[in-house]
């Protein structure tokens, strides 16, 4: 039977139920966008509290303990709960459309990945209301994280474990989707660069997250069950945690940065009205960065005492990453070269990205020089460096993608004037906040300092930095206002408002739930552009209209994730009283019950019939 109903006027309850049970990649994308956006604001407020504490020397705005919770949760939230899910939002919204697929390979798992992430993210933040969030830094170095009192770090461990499982599931799903679900003619070397970067990032997730999983399990045993993996007094080794964390943590940077590069590649090519310069070199550079990303984790540990041989090897390996990254920068510049460049908000972020990220790359090579890093390490220089990479690279990309793909996701263009105001506030605020921090670091200000002493010439730089942070906050408020005002007043746009090149712009905005009535035939890179230059308005279909097989909605992913969430509390509180073990049984019971239901109950999906599709076409 067909369920093609106009979905405009529905009760709140049924909309909510629809989202709780949906397996549609476009709706999951919207949920990722909302949840990631929410955590981005939470992390941003934490950042503002940090900067306000540092506005003057020996300030007492927050206590030392609260400050440590703020820095820990700011880092953890921004990486795991804001940047990752927002990247996933755009991967979900765009990748299936770009390769001409009707959904991801495993729609059920896609939903499960989202709910695991969300419940994990909530669990991470529960610490705030139960007497203290995690306070051992987002890197949670042992033994500090092992001896940290209370439950804060337990919430960190369990929350990350659950949301990390969601990410791993998501990564595998996109690998399979991109390998298997490309439309006829969409060869690997015709895939848009965003899809390529999503593909490589998913492979990185597959290989990097297990290291984090293992590390978190060991830490969980240490904290909750009295083992001593990281406790030197019991024969453990604290430095092993750092290796496990960074074997995950360094590829994580590229898991975020590569899709960001993909986003910029799409935007720069579209608004220069040119094919991406050196496409195959770009693909090669993406794969190479992903590969080298696994060879360099110990550059986070130059001061650990690994010896000069290890330090030199990791220094040189790290510097090598600058080469493929440089290739990318120059290819973007030469895509712009000779183009007809439209400068709108999405393009402003992309243009702002180039100098900003180049600076992040510059300082990246500088910190890679081990013997210089002895001075930079754990100082504000490093804080400046990674914010140039992650804000200048990833956050700029996410903002650019928001403006670029908003019409595809919601059918409306975000207000351009407000968008440009946001960009300038955010761009100027960003450089004000972080440029000066390079110097603060070299002037002797270590990282994660709750207060700095008077009369050490650090006052002015910190004050400037704080002002910049508030400008960024202001920019974000304008963006939120923009989203609201556009949703209320924005005008509907057609399928292809940007005169773009890739497949997602060949179908209506927002796309119908089955995406493509007929799978398109892909005849080269930038398939829509090819059709347009040959005078056609849309894609040539590769198949006649036929029945479309669709997956059924399911509440099971939500239930499963809820089960793990409940079990999380049991794992944490059983350290005080065995009665809490009951929560583990209840939670795991719910989760395993949901899995069992999924396994034994056949769910073959449903078909949209050919007649309905034809009828719809006539209307």
């Amino acid at each position: 039977m067909s369920t093609m109903v106009a979905t405009n006027k529905r009760s709140f309850g049924s909309t909510l139920w629809d989202y709780l049970t949906t397996v549609d990649h476009k709706k999951i994308a919207i949920m990722y966008l909302i949840a990631g956006g929410f955590f981005f604001i939470v992390g941003g407020l934490e950042a503002l509290a940090i900067r306000w504490q540092l506005v003057k020397p020996m300030n007492d705005f927050v206590s030392a303990g609260l400050y440590n919770e703020l820095i820990t949760m700011h880092g953890t939230t921004m990486i795991f709960l804001a940047a990752m899910p927002l990247i996933f939002a755009f991967m979900n919204a765009v990748v299936p459309l770009q390769i001409g697929a009707r959904d991801v390979a495993f729609p059920f798992l896609n939903s499960l990945g989202f709910w695991l992430f969300l419940f994990g993210g909530i669990l991470l933040n529960v610490g705030w209301i139960t007497g203290g969030a995690a306070d051992a830094g987002w890197t949670a170095y042992a033994p500090l994280s092992i001896i940290s009192p209370g439950e804060g770090v337990d919430y960190y461990v369990l929350g990350l474990q659950i949301s990390g499982a969601g990410t791993l599931i998501g990564g595998i799903n996109f690998l399979v989707t991109i390998v298997n679900m490309r439309a006829p003619g969409m060869t690997y070397m015709r895939m848009p660069l965003f899809t390529w970067t999503a593909f490589v990032a998913s492979a990185l997730i597959l290989f990097a997250f297990p290291a984090l999983t293992v590390g978190l399990f060991l830490m969980m045993f240490d904290r909750l069950f009295g083992s001593g993996f990281f406790d030197p007094n019991m024969g453990g080794n604290a430095v092993i945690w750092q290796h496990l964390f960074w074997i995950f943590g360094h590829p994580e940077v590229y898991i975020l940065a590569l899709p960001a590069f993909g986003i910029f590649s799409e935007i720069i090519s579209t608004f220069s009205k040119k094919r991406l310069f050196g496409y195959s070199a770009m693909v090669f550079a993406t794969v190479l960065i992903g590969f080298l990303g696994f060879m360099v984790w110990a550059h986070h540990m130059f001061t650990v005492g690994m010896g000069p041989a290890a330090n030199s090897i990791f220094a040189v390996a790290t510097m090598a990453i600058a080469i493929p990254t440089g290739i990318k920068i120059f290819n973007w510049l030469f895509t712009l070269w000779g183009g007809n460049i439209t400068i709108n908000t999405a393009m402003l972020y992309s243009l702002g990205f180039i100098p900003t990220f180049t600076m992040g790359g510059m300082t990246g090579v500088m910190v890679a020089a081990a013997s210089a890093d002895y001075q930079y390490h754990d100082s504000y220089f490093v804080v400046a460096h990674f914010h140039y990479v992650i804000v200048g690279g990833v956050v700029f990309a996410l903002f650019a993608a928001t403006h670029y793909w908003w019409p595809k996701m919601f059918g409306k263009i975000l207000n351009e004037t407000l968008g440009k105001i946001t960009f300038w506030l955010f761009f100027i605020g960003f450089h004000m906040t972080f440029f000066i921090q390079h110097f603060l670091g070299l002037m002797g200000m270590p990282r994660r300092y709750w207060v700095y002493l008077e009369d050490q010439n650090l006052d002015l730089g910190n004050a400037i930095s704080t002002v910049g942070a508030f400008l960024m906050g202001l920019g974000t408020i304008v963006l939120l206002y923009n989203v609201v005002i556009t949703s209320v007043k924005g005008e509907k746009v057609g399928p292809d408002p940007w005169d773009a090149r890739t497949l997602e712009w060949a179908i209506p905005s927002p796309p119908p739930f089955y995406n493509f009535k007929q799978l398109p035939l892909i005849r080269g890179l930038d398939p829509l552009w090819i059709e347009k230059t040959e005078g056609r308005s849309g894609m040539t279909p590769a198949e006649p209209i036929g029945d479309i097989h669709m997956p059924n909605n399911s509440i099971l992913p939500f239930v499963m994730s809820l089960g793990f969430f409940i079990a999380g509390f049991g794992f944490i509180y059983q350290k005080y009283d065995a009665i809490w073990l009951s929560l583990i049984f209840i939670g795991m019971g719910i989760a395993l019950g949901a899995m069992l239901t999924r396994s034994i109950k056949d769910d073959l999906g449903y078909h949209i019939h050919k007649e309905d599709l034809e009828k719809e076409a006539k209307e």
Partner: protein, 352 residues
């Protein structure tokens, strides 16, 4: 008139100098004004890499500004479709090979200095100090000289001093920016580094690895004095004993209270102790690493250490558990006693 101009000129030159110096940070703290071997070597690598990378940045920016200025859409050209270029092999090779060469320019000095700073060939003929990092203070044991001291580390100028570092709780990192880069102080394996000061002076040291509540207050000092002064200091400290009678009666009363309530953790001679060694407390640069060195601060510290340094190890002290064991009055006596512990003529003031 001319004189007046000259004055203005000197003044503006002077204020420019001040501005420049303050932009470099605080002397004896900032890495921009290196006063020791390690800091100098690291600054060389920093300088080389900054120059190379700035050159790259300028090239990128020149192309960037040119393309954005030249190829941005002009009025009436909204529908112009530019030539669709696939790529350019020669250009691709150029921007692959040139960065490789630039990286070699950075990599060679990086590796040379990395090995140089890890050199331990002279360790047997040098002064070797065992450094212990603890939440949130530093302990220094001169193993051969049999001296124990905390917070202020005295070294002779111009000599390589080897530090063997181990933590007794979480990971710390030993950083004296003006003298040398940092090295982690791990609980599980001993790390060795050397420092060498070129000039006499009192250098700021910081803990650079996040270690808990008072991570930002775990400061220490390195006091570099002349070789003669150092020898004198060693001799004086070796002769420290616990049973010296203070001169004033208040100090004597302080000593009595100290011996009852404080001696369990603190030492005032060269014996190992759980808390900081206080044998030359009167000559310390600071109290607890960060507070001004005067009796008033010391009394406040004794009465309420948590307000000065959250989460520090003294909070478990018995006298803080039994309210009233040490009164304000007692604290003032202890302070007077501690402040007169000056076993040596060689003090931070000698370091110039």
């Amino acid at each position: 008139m001319k004189e007046w101009m000259g004055k203005i000129r000197t003044l503006s030159l002077f204020s420019l100098m001040v501005l420049l110096l303050s932009a470099c940070g605080k002397e004896n703290l900032t890495t921009f004004i290196p006063k020791g071997y390690g800091a100098e070597e690291s600054l060389n690598v920093i300088t080389i890499s900054t120059i190379v990378m700035t050159a790259v940045f300028i090239v990128v920016m020149v192309i960037f500004i040119y393309v954005v200025w030249k190829f941005r859409q002009k009025k009436g050209e909204e529908n112009v479709i530019p030539k669709q270029v696939e790529g350019n092999k020669t250009l691709e090779i150029v921007w692959t090979v040139i960065p490789i060469l630039l990286l070699i320019i950075i990599a060679v000095p990086t590796i040379l200095v990395t090995y140089d700073l890890a050199d331990q060939s002279e360790i047997d003929d040098s002064i070797t100090i065992n450094v212990t990092g603890k939440q949130f203070w530093w302990h220094f044991e001169y193993a051969n000289e049999e001296i124990q001291t905390s917070q202020d580390l005295y070294i002779p100028v111009g000599e390589k001093i080897y530090l063997k570092m181990l933590s007794s709780d979480v990971i710390h990192s030993f950083w004296v920016p003006a003298l040398s880069g940092k090295m982690d102080v791990n609980p599980d394996n001993e790390n060795t580094m050397y420092i060498q000061a070129h000039e006499e002076g009192v250098y700021w040291g910081k803990c650079a690895e996040f270690c808990g509540d008072s991570h930002s207050l775990m400061d220490f000092k390195i006091i570099a004095v002349s070789k003669e002064e150092y020898a004198q200091w060693v001799e004086d400290l070796q002769n420290v004993t616990a049973d010296v009678q203070p001169e004033t009666t208040t100090a004597q009363e302080g000593q009595a209270i100290f011996e009852q309530s404080c001696i369990g953790c603190h030492a005032i001679d060269n014996t190992p102790s759980a808390g900081p060694n206080l044998s030359n407390f009167g000559d310390r640069t600071t109290i607890a690493g960060v507070l001004e060195h005067n009796e008033e601060e010391l009394v406040e510290w004794i009465m309420d250490p948590n307000s000065k340094k959250p989460g520090n190890g003294m909070l478990g002290a018995p006298y803080l558990q039994n309210k009233g064991e040490i009164t304000q009055d007692d604290a003032e006596k202890i302070a007077e006693y501690l402040m007169q512990l000056k076993p040596s003529e060689i003090t931070p003031n000698s370091a110039q």
